[in-house]
Symmetry: C2
C-alpha cells in the first residue's frame, strides 16, 4: 500500500524535540488514526496512550521497549509494537521515515 486513500490529513505538523521529530495525523473514515512522521538521528523517549504499531519505512534505530532489557535494532521495512500507557526509548541512527498506528 503506497498511499492512504479517502482520508483526512491534518494540515499542521506535530513538532517534538525541537523539530527533530515531526509528524502529521491521518484520519480514516472508520475513525482509525495514524501518524506519518520523520525522526532525525538522536535519542528520544516517548509515552503512549493507545497501543502503537510503529512501522519503520526507511532508516534505522534501536528501541528499548517498556520493561525491556535489551536494545532491539529496527530497520526500514520492519515494525514494532508498544503497549498502551507505557514509555519507550529510541536511538535513531539513520533518518527514520515512519508510520504509527494507534490501536484502540
Amino acid at each position: 500500500m503506497n498511499s492512504f486513500d479517502n482520508v483526512s490529513v491534518v494540515k499542521k505538523a506535530n513538532v517534538y524535540f525541537g523539530g527533530k521529530v515531526t509528524s502529521r495525523a491521518v484520519l480514516f473514515p472508520n475513525g482509525e488514526k495514524k501518524t506519518l512522521g520523520i525522526m532525525m538521528p538522536g535519542e528520544y523517549e516517548f509515552g503512549t496512550e493507545d497501543k502503537e504499531i510503529m512501522e519503520i519505512m526507511a532508516g534505522e534505530l534501536d528501541v528499548m521497549l517498556p520493561g525491556g532489557e535489551n536494545w532491539i535494532t529496527v530497520k526500514g521495512g520492519q515494525s514494532f509494537e508498544v503497549a498502551a500507557n507505557s514509555k519507550f526509548k529510541l536511538v535513531v541512527k539513520e533518518l527514520a521515515d515512519y508510520c504509527c498506528s494507534y490501536i484502540k
Copy 2:
C-alpha cells in the same frame, strides 16, 4: 481549513538535504497536488517545475525569489508564490511547517 478531507496521502516521505527538508504528497480528487513539509533551520535552493504557492503555517524564513534583488521575510501565516521552471533560495531561521500547492 484545518485538514484536507477526502484525499490520498503518499506514505513515504520525500527527503531532501539529508532530511533537513522533508515532505509528504497529498493528492486531491480533482487531480490537484500539494505537499505538507518541514524545513529545519538552514539554507536551501529549490527548483520549480510547476508554479508553486508556499504557505508558511509556522516558523520564519527569508526568501530570494527568482530574479529578485532583496530577501523577503516570511512568517507563519504568510505565503509566497514562485514561478514555474525557476529557482529560489530560502534561509530558514525558525523551523518552518509549510504547505506547498502546485499550480498547473
